[in-house]
């Protein structure tokens, strides 16, 4: 005889991914590393921003890149020129990084380097404005990029990404004069769902706003990494 039973679960659908993310974060914390998850639609300027960031900060901070948005192995090589380890993750056909993939990257990194020597992990997520917002990878902060060419209404159309982000970069500001775009409207749209994020307008091409972005990175890193706090307090 068969009987039907009912089990109440109340388990988050992303439970497994979240556990993995917490595991990754615990590793980072033990090593004194802060992790930033960098997300945007394809082509908004993540890789170029990483290049500019590495060029400016790779002496000052010990950085490692986890690259999940490779078009070719060339992207990773471009970043390696800055003398930092670049862990390339094969995401297959997945539209986002998940915590398990990043755990694989951490494993490779651990194998080749002493993680305690590092302070900052920059994760370049798969180009996509939807899913990466839902799948944590173990980051301490989420950074979202929106290029001026994507239009003012994107925050309204993809609210989750903009709501979850801690830092929002409006990129390719050098192109704004050629477009019918009102930057203050982009900001107002973002503010509708995220009153707390730091919003910075940047151009990787002209360098506009980059110093503000770099200072944001410096300040969150110092906040998180105890050894850097000791170094800056005197």
């Amino acid at each position: 005889m068969h009987q039907t039973f009912d089990a109440a679960l109340g388990i988050n659908l992303l439970h497994a991914n979240q556990q993995g993310a917490e595991h990754n974060r615990a590793h980072f914390d033990r090593w004194g590393i802060i992790c930033l998850n960098i997300m945007s639609s394809p082509g908004a300027g993540k890789t170029v921003l990483l290049e500019r960031t590495l060029a400016a900060l790779s002496e000052e901070l010990k950085i490692v890149v986890i690259e999940g948005d490779m078009t070719t192995e060339l992207d990773a090589d471009r970043l390696r020129q800055y003398g930092v380890p670049v862990i390339a993750i094969n995401t297959g056909r997945s539209c986002h990084l998940d915590s398990k993939m990043v755990a694989g990257g951490i494993h490779q990194f651990e194998h080749l380097h002493n993680p305690s020597d590092f302070n900052l992990v920059l994760v370049e997520n798969v180009g996509n404005l939807v899913c990466p917002a839902e799948f944590e990878v173990g980051e301490h902060y989420k950074v979202a990029l929106l290029s001026v060419t994507e239009g003012e209404d994107k925050p309204l159309k993809y609210p989750l990404m903009f709501q979850e982000a801690d830092c929002l970069l409006i990129t390719k500001m050098d192109l704004a004069p050629y477009l019918e775009i009102d930057i203050s409207r982009i900001e107002a749209n973002i503010r509708q769902m995220n009153p707390h994020a730091t919003i910075i307008s940047v151009s990787a091409k002209t360098g506009e706003g980059l110093e503000i972005w770099l200072n944001w990175v410096r300040s969150v890193t110092r906040e998180h990494v105890p050894e850097l706090q000791a170094a800056t307090s005197d």
């Binding site: 039907t4 039973f5 679960l9 109340g10 988050n12 659908l13 986002h96 899913c131």
Partner: protein, 128 residues
């Protein structure tokens, strides 16, 4: 496309539960609660669930999705409101940003229905 990954995550979570049980039950339905303010599209989820569960322990199991609306609470007005997704998120009364989401972010496996052989009545006497 992201529904494929969501479904994988769902199946992994259900499988973890299933394997932790004393018996390998036959699961007849999985009930989800999915908020409107998530990256999940219920119709796509239904479809990928059907495809991905074929010939697995979940073969034939039904996926039943209950959607919850996006509801935010405005602290200035001290009241709830329903933002219009894609159009307007700030409070319609005072334009305060959406800051306190009360519903719409759920992505939960609420419950699982399963069948089990009942062994309450022994139909034969093994010792005779």
């Amino acid at each position: 496309m992201h529904e494929t990954d969501m479904t994988k995550a769902l199946i992994v979570t259900v499988k973890d539960w299933w394997e932790s049980q004393p018996e390998r039950f036959k699961i007849s339905s999985v009930h989800l609660i999915v908020g409107k303010f998530t990256c999940v599209e219920p119709v796509s989820l239904q479809f990928t669930f059907e495809v991905q569960t074929r010939n697995t322990f979940l073969d034939g199991a039904k996926l039943i999705i209950q959607e919850t609306p996006l509801i935010a609470f405005c602290h200035r007005c001290q009241q709830e409101y329903q933002p219009e997704i894609g159009i307007q998120y700030a409070c319609p009364e005072c334009k305060s940003p959406m800051d306190d989401i009360r519903s719409g972010r759920e992505l939960k496996i609420d419950r699982i229905e399963y069948c089990a052989e009942t062994t309450t009545t022994q139909t034969y006497a093994p010792n005779i």
